[in-house]
Symmetry: none
Subunit: 227 residues, 2 copies
Amino acid sequence: MIVDDLKRSPLFAGLGDAQLLELAAIARPVEFEADAGIFLQGEPAGAFFVLVRGGVKIFKTLRDGRTATLRHVRPGETFGESVLFNDHYPASADTMDDSSLLRFAVDEFRRLLTAEPEVGLALIATMARLMVMLNSRIEELLLPVPARLARYVLDLRDKQCAVAASGKACAGCRLPTSKRELAARLGTVPETLSRTLDRFKRAKVIALRSDTIEVLDIPALERIAQR
Amino acid sequence: MIVDDLKRSPLFAGLGDAQLLELAAIARPVEFEADAGIFLQGEPAGAFFVLVRGGVKIFKTLRDGRTATLRHVRPGETFGESVLFNDHYPASADTMDDSSLLRFAVDEFRRLLTAEPEVGLALIATMARLMVMLNSRIEELLLPVPARLARYVLDLRDKQCAVAASGKACAGCRLPTSKRELAARLGTVPETLSRTLDRFKRAKVIALRSDTIEVLDIPALERIAQR
DNA sequence: CGGCTCCTTGAGGTTAATCAATCCTGGTGG
DNA sequence: CCACCAGGATTGATTAACCTCAAGGAGCCG
């Protein structure tokens, strides 16, 4: 279902069902094999994409033919958004694995937004939220690893407690990803994550059994989160 | 003339005269001296701004007093747009030079936005651009300092060459900020920046005299920029 | 000249990445 | 039921990056 794919993308998550349906109406599912070209640097800009499944790399071709990879796109992320404000693609995109995409033609997208200001407003709102998130992500990366981890854990606890009955002491949270993934998300490597978790455990700040984490000392975590 | 100032801003360029007049009606011109605070991280969000003249930096204050510069705003650009859908400013803004701004109160702007979808479209485009920028900034922070510096220099060169007659060998670029500021923008400290510049000089990758930088070996810089 | 501020240089320490080895743990087949 | 594997997770030792602290320049204006 296209709507479900859209919901999985941070850009569109948080939009109402009606708006998602309108977006889905102009989204064209496209399939690519591995190592296929999606668009080329310099090409007139026609569309932007949501990656549903697979992997895509964004790269520039240098004058001498060598390529410089700018970014790896993971499922759920969008790419080519710059066509909204550029006439030509500033870089090229190739698939790395067999991939499913959603294609949004720029002109149709534009038409939808003028016809349905509500969609535009909702989109602006999510973009604003995303920007705040990106902002704090930048801030975090300047902090040492323990602070980043502490923030992540506090955040996780906040979110999972909000779901559970409020007021009740939220015993354990589940780590939603493998530790390898978590390390990548924190901008570090599994080894460092493992050691840092261990330090937290030995300091009795958290308890950890397999992938269930329990916060024991919130003030301490908050102190660590501040640098 | 306020309308002329608005036209110079990418956010509003391309809007019709009628819309520009409506925007001008709710824009309040404001003047600031150098090193003045415009808004503070966490402050209740009241307005966003267009920089007409001067310079502004957007930064986060860490608990220990260190600051992380997220972005330098140049004349014509907008900042604080995220307050349109947030209650509080996610970062602080200070002037770097004497500056002229246009101030847009959030509630008035919101009202205009529902009445004029075109304005929303333009806003989405700028926000998309900002998000692309923030994304690459995050990516950069995971790279070592020399790579970040190399990217910055290449970027600077691209921009300044675009302005000069194209095709002509762009000899020297001017660093637009003090090295202290540049270090903050790269997420490092002046000492490390100084040493890294020195390494580049000794490797004959760049030449540097006071604040004029000359790129000598583009392939080498591009190699460094890749990690 | 003195007093600035900004930049550079040096030495030392800390953080975290890297490399390599070991340990779980769940799944598989005998 | 158990031996055995494969992947992820941990642990240890080493190395490199870069921040910190401290001490000089270099330019600039009174």
